[in-house]
């Protein structure tokens, strides 16, 4: 059982690495994730090791400082509860690039700009 689990994990890692290494487009990678061809885990959640980080960090290769404020330990990705940060000033520009209506991500979180 353990051997199988290990084999699947290695295979998944290889597929993910291949997707990044071959420069597969974000659209293709997003589709592959959606179809389950790339294993990003089944547990939804923001914590490292769960789907969100698996997709954005492991598969797509987004760097930590794309979302996190690096100098502030341990972790203030939402920029709210730290005394040195203004509440609510959350830049989601990096999300917009892929998740806009005509963006490459499968999850279209954002709409199109109103007239």
């Amino acid at each position: 059982m353990r051997v199988w689990t290990l084999a699947i994990a290695v295979l998944a890692l290889l597929v993910m690495t291949a997707a990044v290494a071959t420069g597969a487009s974000i659209t293709d990678t997003a589709k592959a994730i959606k179809k389950g061809k790339i294993d990003v885990g089944r547990i939804t959640g923001m914590e490292p090791g769960k789907r969100f980080h698996n997709i954005h960090n492991r598969v797509l290769g987004l760097q930590c400082n794309s979302c996190h404020v690096g100098s502030l330990a341990p972790d203030y990705p939402y920029q709210r509860k730290h005394k040195d940060l203004q509440m609510g000033q959350v830049d989601r520009g990096i999300c917009l690039g892929c998740h806009k209506a005509n963006g490459p991500a499968e999850t279209k979180l954002y709409g199109t700009m109103a007239e």
């Binding site: 939402y78 998740h99 109103a114």
Partner: protein, 218 residues
């Protein structure tokens, strides 16, 4: 009906009466805010001024939080108010990540206003004595509801939302500068529609295509 808010930034002087009113009305625990005020400076000495930007949920027409939630715990009602169902919310925080305005908060540990950890009589109210939107618990997300508990009651009584203290969100009528307005954006004769049409009213982060229902007069 599409409920919305207009905030006149020219009038706001950062007193945070809206923040306090929201906290008490909605039993928001220490550290979390459904309503807060950003402030920054504009200009160069000696010609400087301080700008205050009151922030709460924008109740977007196209809310990204609703699309992001893997539990389908966020919905938008007929009046355009975006609400979180606390029974469905599993605290995945996807909504917090997706919201470009940073107005959704996560309830981690339960915190009380008394420093010794004891609950104030208000905080000690049992869940059944509270409106469903105030039955919050650790491990879920929370945000402004446009004081839906008040609006819901006003609508049942046949009142127009925004017409008086009880039929408006708590932050509206407490504003000593009359900087906040609330009403039906679909009604061209409502005060909010009139203000949007006649003043320089903007929406924040329009580039996200969320179509916020909170407007700012600048």
């Amino acid at each position: 009906m599409r409920l919305g808010m207009v905030i006149d930034m020219r009038r706001c002087f950062g007193c945070r009466a809206c923040v306090a009113a929201c906290k008490t009305e909605n039993m928001v625990q220490p550290g979390n805010y459904w309503n807060f005020v950003l402030e920054y400076e504009q200009g160069k000495y000696p010609n400087v001024r301080r700008i205050f930007v009151p922030m709460n949920c924008m109740h977007c027409q196209d809310p990204p939080c609703m699309k992001a939630c893997p539990e389908k715990a966020i919905s938008k009602n007929k009046q355009g108010v975006v609400l979180i169902n606390y029974d469905k919310c599993k605290g995945r925080k996807y909504c917090i990540a997706a919201c470009p305005y940073g107005v959704i908060h996560f309830i981690g540990n339960e915190k009380t206003f008394y420093p010794d950890g004891k609950k104030t009589p208000y905080e000690a109210l049992p869940a059944r004595a509270r409106h469903p939107l105030h039955r919050k618990k650790p491990g879920i997300a929370e945000k402004c509801t446009f004081c839906w508990h008040r609006i819901e009651k006003a609508l049942k009584e046949g009142k127009t939302p925004g017409s008086d203290y009880d039929s408006s969100p708590a932050c509206i009528k407490v504003c000593p500068a009359n900087a906040r307005y609330f009403g039906d954006l679909d009604d061209p004769n409502s005060e909010v529609s009139r203000l949007i049409a006649t003043k320089r009213a903007i929406q924040l982060k329009k580039e996200f295509g969320t179509k916020p229902q909170v407007y700012y007069i600048v």
